[in-house]
């Protein structure tokens, strides 16, 4: 189903929900459960946390959906709720404050550029083991990003929201989205390349 068709049918589901349809709620869950769960997983790294986030997101969504005026897409609105749930989860765990990633840390002052070795993602099924190992390295690298950078990276590069949508979901400026995304990508490139160069992924 393409995005426009999805948006039209979202509109119908919302209308049915407002008319009291339990079935509409179930259809909304079916449509977005995978995206919301995997976003929570990429944010927290634990299946149980991702399940909690998905449950909390849908419960909150249905609590307020009757008042939802569709000024934004349903998908964006759900991710806004999910992002808040991820932030709350992190606060409850009393994690350390977010560290800043500075651009300067990636600029080599000796006049040279750093060399990066980034492996290819193989689509060959016989490379399953290699792919699983590489996926572990990438997932760990994403999880080691400070939360505010991880939120932007996951929304932009994994979920495919554009810059403006990401800014709206997170309640930050367009420029902050651009800055955080660039630094997150540079951070991930360094982490993945370091791991690869050290020979942990052959």
């Amino acid at each position: 189903m393409n995005r426009t068709t999805n948006e039209n049918s979202d509109h119908h589901l919302i209308a049915e929900f407002k008319a009291g349809s339990m079935e509409a709620m179930e259809k909304i869950v079916e449509r977005y459960e995978n995206q919301v769960f995997t976003f929570g997983l990429k944010m927290c790294g634990h299946v149980q946390d991702a399940e909690d986030i998905a449950q909390e997101t849908f419960l909150n969504a249905f609590r307020y959906l009757a008042r939802f005026r569709e000024e934004t897409k349903l998908r964006n609105w759900l991710f806004k709720i999910a992002a808040r749930a991820c932030i709350r989860k992190r606060r409850k765990k009393k994690c350390e404050p977010d560290k800043e990633i500075s651009l300067e840390s990636f600029v080599h002052k000796n006049g040279n550029h750093a060399k990066y070795e980034i492996p290819d993602w193989s689509d060959d099924p016989s490379d399953n083991v290699l792919r699983a190992e590489l996926k572990q390295v990438i997932d760990a690298a994403v999880l080691s990003l400070p939360t505010k950078y991880r939120l932007v990276f996951n929304l932009r590069d994994i979920e495919g929201f554009n810059t403006e949508e990401t800014a709206e979901i997170l309640g930050i400026s367009v420029q902050s989205v651009k800055t955080r995304l660039h630094r997150a990508r540079l951070f991930l490139r360094e982490k993945i390349s370091n791991h690869y160069v050290e020979g942990k992924v052959q």
Binding site: M22, M25, E26, V29, E30, E33, N34, F37, T38, L41, K42, V47, E51, A54, Q55, F58, L59, F62, R63, L103, F106, V107, H108, K109, G111, N112, H113, K115, Y116, E117, I118, P119, D120, W121, L134, K135, I138, D139, V142, F153, N154, D157, I158, T163, K178, L181, H182, R185, L186, L188, R189, I192, S193
Partner: protein
């Protein structure tokens, strides 16, 4: 890193995302033509993004999907009563 490279280094993501004005895009392309190191830097960043996208594809496990649906059904029924 040279000052000129540094200036464009800050803009690579926006360049890759096609979010820059034509003027600065042309400037970057002219610089890339003469700077091998910046070309490599751009390529490795592009490859990183692609790799993360490929590795980022996930599906909710079926047992969790069923549990989530049934928990939500119960909780929502209770709320609606």
């Amino acid at each position: 890193m040279k000052e000129e490279c540094k200036k464009y280094f800050e803009k690579i993501s926006e360049y890759l995302d096609d979010e820059l004005d034509d003027e600065i895009c042309h400037e970057i392309e002219a610089h890339l033509k003469k700077c091998r190191e910046c070309r490599e830097c751009l390529d490795s960043l592009k490859k990183t993004i692609q790799l993360c996208k490929e590795a980022g594809k996930e599906t909710i496990p079926s047992d969790i999907r069923e549990r989530l649906r049934s928990n939500l059904r119960e909780l929502l029924k209770r709320k609606l009563k």
